[in-house]
Symmetry: D2
Subunit: 341 residues, 4 copies
Amino acid sequence: MEILNVAVAGLGRIGKIHLKNLARNFTEIRVVAAMDVFDESKAIADEFNVPVFVKTFDELLAVPDLDAVVICSPTDTHADYVVKAARAGKQIFCEKPLDLSLERVQEVLEIVKEAGIKLMLGFNRRFDPEFKKIRQLVDNGSVGDPQILKITSRDPGPPPVSYIKVSGGMFLDMTIHDFDMARFISGKEVKEVFAKATVKVDPEIGEAGDVDTAVIILTFEDDSMALIDNCRKAAYGYDQRLEVFGSRGMAQAENNFSNNHKLYTEAGVSGDLPLHFFLERYDASYNQEIREFIDALVLGSEMPVDGEDGLISIAMGLAAKKSLKENRPVLMTEILDRRAN
Amino acid sequence: MEILNVAVAGLGRIGKIHLKNLARNFTEIRVVAAMDVFDESKAIADEFNVPVFVKTFDELLAVPDLDAVVICSPTDTHADYVVKAARAGKQIFCEKPLDLSLERVQEVLEIVKEAGIKLMLGFNRRFDPEFKKIRQLVDNGSVGDPQILKITSRDPGPPPVSYIKVSGGMFLDMTIHDFDMARFISGKEVKEVFAKATVKVDPEIGEAGDVDTAVIILTFEDDSMALIDNCRKAAYGYDQRLEVFGSRGMAQAENNFSNNHKLYTEAGVSGDLPLHFFLERYDASYNQEIREFIDALVLGSEMPVDGEDGLISIAMGLAAKKSLKENRPVLMTEILDRRAN
Amino acid sequence: MEILNVAVAGLGRIGKIHLKNLARNFTEIRVVAAMDVFDESKAIADEFNVPVFVKTFDELLAVPDLDAVVICSPTDTHADYVVKAARAGKQIFCEKPLDLSLERVQEVLEIVKEAGIKLMLGFNRRFDPEFKKIRQLVDNGSVGDPQILKITSRDPGPPPVSYIKVSGGMFLDMTIHDFDMARFISGKEVKEVFAKATVKVDPEIGEAGDVDTAVIILTFEDDSMALIDNCRKAAYGYDQRLEVFGSRGMAQAENNFSNNHKLYTEAGVSGDLPLHFFLERYDASYNQEIREFIDALVLGSEMPVDGEDGLISIAMGLAAKKSLKENRPVLMTEILDRRAN
Amino acid sequence: MEILNVAVAGLGRIGKIHLKNLARNFTEIRVVAAMDVFDESKAIADEFNVPVFVKTFDELLAVPDLDAVVICSPTDTHADYVVKAARAGKQIFCEKPLDLSLERVQEVLEIVKEAGIKLMLGFNRRFDPEFKKIRQLVDNGSVGDPQILKITSRDPGPPPVSYIKVSGGMFLDMTIHDFDMARFISGKEVKEVFAKATVKVDPEIGEAGDVDTAVIILTFEDDSMALIDNCRKAAYGYDQRLEVFGSRGMAQAENNFSNNHKLYTEAGVSGDLPLHFFLERYDASYNQEIREFIDALVLGSEMPVDGEDGLISIAMGLAAKKSLKENRPVLMTEILDRRAN
């Protein structure tokens, strides 16, 4: 078997996870280089015995015999790096979103297409064992035709307001995962989006022009529906659940907990809170995600999440923003037609 | 202690429940008469030793020394019976809804007000131990300020289409309970309603001009939100749950089950389905509801659910219908202002 | 249909429950008389419109046309009352235990047999929906052949030491229910008993010659086994669970709770404690128990719990006492053979 | 920091797990050598880049600058290897049990003591997150003084009869983990053991002189008690739970599941079975166990499980065997005194 040469760009929180999984769990690849703009990140590369550490993406692409790059740098670099990597003929895994501008995303996807390379987007939650199981139960007909999908996604606390200002807003930064999940679980495309939202967590978020508490109705092409509810801060921690109701039954995915103990005392029955945040909750999903990327590379098969998935999720975020602003349901064609012009 | 004389009008499914509870569980009242248009219902009155059985509401009101009536007859008689009872100076418990016309409801409530008698509406779910507990946890601050309320209400199967045709539609017949629950749990008033709905259960329901599967966003006056989801048919039976998310935490109410067993076999872990339908699930709530009605009569205190509660829930149903028809969020003032004209 | 005339002897806590259920839930019987040694209990009889109240059991039996008696008086009267009622030709429901002496129990059962009347013993837990469900799952083969049965039974607090002194000890007063449950669930007879016990709750219980914390191994005739654990005081309240493990699977019965809410806060996930004590937890079972007694009377069918069941449970209690004293497993034949002599 | 040189002896199922964890998760150690009697195992060593592969324990000990050995070879080699490693001055991690003979274990521990090296025994379940949590709740007083401990341990299926014949029997092979767990959770020593057991799974196990279904009562020095139940085959898979009841409350540890989904259909509510077997269920515990071994080596601190723990668990197994044979409770002093002679 030929060993694939892989490089990682960006050694922040998520880059480090991907690097660890790439370095430890595969015999069919070799991590030949890592890149980060900060000198300090070299220590991370060293920890996992990565032979080459560079500070620019161009240098990374210049590493000899490189087959694929895993892009984990800040969002505003994604489009440029993907374009460069595609033009250099490298296979690409890129963290979501590709870009906050629909036009730019479309442009990038066309370049990727022309380059004939494969691009996988980092919608890691599709690889979470809880959600995968629900998807299976939909797939194998256990719940029948999906009619109402409910997705709850609440964070333990908001990011800094400085981050929120450049994030594209809650719908593009946080709900984007739920938009993708709605399509993944139901196997259906969305035709209309209606969003209501407000500021309940921190007035500074409102002053920054964003919201922190939202509910969204998605209408699928067959008129079945999804309900999403989001909040930037749940006092009890990270809350990641979903429920799909169909013609034959209902399937529910629960939060994950560090242990399942129950304590009975005079004060009542109690248990632990859900796992703290995405690094803990989605640990297995990051592992599985990168595995399926490598598998697709090795086998030459389709990527499990592709550029089109990234495009649609961004269009849904933009539809939600428009719906919130205009207080009316927005058709997806209003957003995607604009693209066509 | 003076014994109150109570009569029951209508001995259908729900009338029989109220009669049983009234006849068995109180020492402070006496059921002196029952009325039903069908001769066969006399056997029910006899079973609970009700001394007088009549076939018209006028005869019922003519029973000497009558203090209060419990109205469980068909919806289209509610308004007339309440008006008659109020004018006769009787205290009234009436099943919901008072009427499907907002104007008629308002008219009736004015007559009730002039008559100076008390009127309680039969929103029995407020007395369900599961939902009461959640209300307590909101009241005592355990969940903080409510931000997102989620109500799931699904029936085991649809009523006959003949019934649906005269029911006022799903929002006024089924969701009306959830509208009331949204106000009860949150302690807040609704300012806007957005509804999406479709026909997934039975095409005949659609042909009758109604829907059978719906999701609704309610926006409260403080911009907090509620999500309701309904279906006329859940393959696994009656599904009655809610969840309130607030600044300090979240409280969830689960379905009720006939027992809590778990069976582990090669095939997996399994347990019983929820209690079959409202008669089983809300058995305790009917009991408690009528108890609080009697208590309020005996003590001369406020009714726990009053005519205004009935009025608002109907207005919410009408707002949902309008929202569905026009595919836009509808302000409650659009409905209630119309009333003012 | 002929109406049966029933009388209740003893209007204490449990007598009042039986009286309420008999008075309210049956059309095929009439409660014609009640008896209690305390004058104050007449108010209870009046509350349920019992026409005759007497203070001695002889007077009760003298009530004309009496068909059956429900005996809820103190344990030390059970044997005498059963004998008197049997000789008077009345059908009998008697609270457990018949007597603390095995010889006396056997004597009473022989008199009952000669009298040709029916006797049902008040092992109410057999009628609990949770435990009945487990029994069904054993009966219908869902768990296969039972191999290990685990019964947990813990009280919220010990009775007064004055009561403990005359109770026959924990095994005959408290564990007796679990002994009966072991036979009921497994459908098997016990051949050997081994008990370990100590005093952990209250030293005064030890000074009174009893124990308050115990574990017991029962060995059935086919060498399958049961584990019982008891404590007179669980800080978190009444704990009534069981689990049966068999060749094809396992079935578990959980505690009952007043509601199923979950509260998520910074402090963790919490819920309510189990229902407080036997009056709450076994409310439905008392109702069902007396219904099955009346049904058996009306239909002339076998009693669902008979005198032999009472006899064996007492023998098991005596075996446990002997085992504890001698710190060795005791064969049931050691106890029951003594009876034969 | 000085890097410790570690070697692994035995690359079977459990050896491979330890090797993987050692090779991947530590920067403070280096796996310098591996040993296995089978040539094929070299591939495993290669997979984790272990530079030296040998076929005898003597060769392994001869590797230069070796600091510690992790012994995962068959049980009958444990004692010899520990003795050799101790005499060579190496730190030792050894899978349980040290030996099936109490005399031999004692002999080995004396040699270890004289050698002044550290020995950790592989009771991995102490490091399971579920059980650790229960231990914490006992430690921090949440459950008060432990009074009744219940441990359930059932396997998905029995090992081959050929293995059972040399295993020392169920008590020394399977229950030994539960014996250690009883001491770990309660923090108390056992004074008496009573065991009942039978053959329910496979008659061949009985013909081999062993049992496959057992219940055991342990009595601690303070007269509190533990109940253990075991079976070699649970139709629904691996069952690993425990419950500790104390003066202030109760804590329960549940099975682990691959996901927490619930599926509601006409047929009932269902969910997944527990994780298949020890490799899946205790995956995290093996990781944590070896981490704490390395930590203790690096810090020079006490081993979290030592030779004495191994000795006592074997003595408990022997007491259980004696109890079963003689059908009476056996004092630990009967076993350990024999050792003293």
